[in-house]
């Protein structure tokens, strides 16, 4: 091989290197760009329709301007409270069982099953909640929507709790046991506190995820043009309102849907960023 051939080869390599580097960078930009585009477009479209009345007023009849989505905001909040109060205790305790008490075989089986539940399409979970709650009650309700969202967030909570508990170093457990602490006391006083920030993060991510779910609510919480009293009436929620308003033929409703989407995305992003900050501070302080 002559020197010339060597230089030509490396020139070709350099070109390919530059090309591939460029290609991967562009792909990375596209991936992140989707978020930027969605956010930018939502601010552009929805920002102008946001007003105080959006947060305080009920929806108005078609043709009348100035309505809001106060009932959907409250409805979403109520659904999330229900989902959290059902999903967090069950998810946390299940994660505790898998991490601390299950045999390796049953831990594997439970983990696998949890991942399968996580992969079930949300519309199917909606159907399940429909049979479980709506059919026996005979009507749509906030309660049934909360149950559907609780089932949706459970796998995330179980796996989050389980993984963060398992990540607590065995040296800490041994230290506690060697001091004459029983196993349950070690779990309550050492393991869970050491994992608490991580678990909290997993819970927040789970809640943020179900906050935007539409499909499980379509035939559970349904929708409502008015305030929903108590827990047994159908209720409006932000995602379902967005869906309803976006497919309606009215220009005014479209603008409202944009505003609702902006609010929803803002809340979900805030929860996500909050959770990440929490876990990062947790690592820094290691507690």
């Amino acid at each position: 091989m002559t020197l010339d051939a060597v230089t030509r080869t490396s020139a070709r390599r350099r070109t390919i290197n530059v090309l591939m580097l460029g290609l991967t960078a562009v792909c990375a930009l596209v991936a992140v760009g989707a978020l930027m585009f969605i956010l930018g477009y939502l601010v552009y479209q929805g920002g102008s329709s946001l007003s105080v009345s959006f947060f305080t007023n009920l929806p108005t009849p078609v043709g009348e301007t100035g309505g809001g989505m106060a009932n959907a905001l409250v409805g979403s909040a109520k659904l999330l409270v229900l989902a959290a109060s059902i999903g967090i205790p069950i998810g946390f305790m299940a994660g505790l069982y898998i991490s601390e008490f299950a045999s390796p075989t049953s831990a594997f089986a439970l983990r696998y099953a949890t991942d399968l539940v996580n992969g079930v399409p949300s519309i199917v979970i909606g159907l399940f909640a429909y049979t479980l709650v709506v059919l026996p009650m005979g009507h749509f309700s906030t309660l049934s929507g909360g149950v559907a969202l609780a089932i949706m967030m459970m796998p995330v909570t179980v796996r989050g709790a389980e993984e963060f508990l398992r990540a607590v170093p065995s040296s800490l457990r041994e230290a506690s046991l060697a001091l004459g602490a029983a196993k349950w006391m070690t779990i309550v006083r050492v393991v869970v506190p050491a994992a608490s920030r991580g678990i909290l993060t997993a819970i927040m991510l789970g809640l943020a995820r179900v906050a935007g779910e539409t499909a499980p609510l379509l035939f559970t919480a349904l929708n409502n043009r008015f305030w929903s009293r108590g827990w047994t009436e159908p209720t409006a929620s932000l995602p379902v309102m967005i869906f309803t308003y976006a497919i309606a033929p009215y220009e005014d409703w479209h603008r409202q849907a944009w505003a609702a989407a902006l609010v929803l995305l803002g809340l979900v992003l805030a929860a996500n960023i909050g959770a990440r900050l929490l876990v990062r501070r947790g690592i820094a302080a290691a507690s």
């Binding site: 040296s171 230290a175 060697a178 004459g180 290691a286």
Partner: protein, 274 residues
């Protein structure tokens, strides 16, 4: 284990195991074997450990000395598939007998680990942990008093008394290890097991730990695993040499280092292998 040592199985001679006549036997094992699943890690270990003495366990990595140490407070119980035969007695009582409360055993036989492992809590809460979980203190003031007492015994009080409520993780490595010793002392154990307590420390911190061990043996029976033969020679009264899961020889430290009975021991303490 396939490779069995090229020596006759060492028999335990009364001459070599007998502690000073004045000292009662605190811990004794008879024919102790331990299996991880199908793999045997300890072979028929019989040893007597005298009260208020420091017994050093030496031997190359993987020889079973840490495993042996952990049988003395049943820490191996938490490892799955561990099986034990033979007996371990504490003041004459078999600690593996059915119905024995393992939590009570661990309170009597404290442990300090190789890597310091303070809880991610404050210095005070680390030491108070054992006092609280064992409900040893009558009042909040009593907890404080016991924490101070333990920190003083571990020679750490003067360094931390101004910042008891800071995180224990902010302490230096040597301070963390002395904190772990204070934490173990706080539950008033009778025996202190130390698994290479200074192996991760610098020479100055190591020296402080060694001085501490010397201080503590007045009140405690100490069993220490060490990789460092000078350390064994400096701190211990009795030395036991382990090899491939067997106790090769045990005797007064000076005789083990100057005049061992077994050739294998001689080769090891003079640095010909290991």
């Amino acid at each position: 284990m396939a490779a069995s040592p090229p020596i006759a199985r060492p028999t335990v001679q009364p001459r070599s195991t007998a502690p000073e006549p004045s000292r009662p036997i605190k811990i004794a094992t008879v024919g102790l074997s331990l299996f991880y699943g199908g793999k045997q890690a300890l072979h028929d270990v019989s040893i007597q450990i005298a009260a208020n003495e420091v017994t050093a366990l030496i031997g190359p990595s993987g020889c079973g000395k840490s495993t042996f140490l952990r049988t003395l407070n049943r820490m191996n119980d938490i490892i799955p598939k561990v099986r034990i035969t033979g007996t371990v007695t504490l003041d004459g009582d078999d600690i593996y007998a059915p119905g024995v409360d393992v939590v009570a055993i661990r309170r009597r036989v404290g442990m300090v680990f190789q890597r310091s492992n303070p809880f991610p809590k404050s210095i005070f809460d680390n030491v108070a942990y054992g006092i609280r979980v064992n409900r040893m203190a009558a009042s909040r003031g009593d907890v404080k008093h016991r924490v101070e007492e333990s920190l003083r015994r571990a020679a750490l009080w003067e360094e931390v008394k101004e910042r008891l409520h800071d995180s224990a993780l902010a302490l230096s490595g040597g301070q963390q290890q002395r904190l772990c010793i204070a934490r173990a002392l706080a539950v008033q154990p009778e025996v202190l097991l130390m698994d290479e307590p200074a192996s991760a420390l610098d020479p100055i911190a190591t020296q402080r730990i060694e001085e501490l061990i010397y201080e503590l043996k007045r009140d405690y029976t100490i069993v220490i695993v060490t990789h460092n033969m000078q350390q064994a020679a400096r701190v211990s009264d009795v030395t036991a040499f382990f090899w491939l899961g067997r106790l090769v020889e045990v005797g007064r430290t000076d005789s083990i280092f100057t005049n061992p009975r077994e050739k294998l021991t001689d080769d090891y303490v003079t640095g010909r292998f290991g």
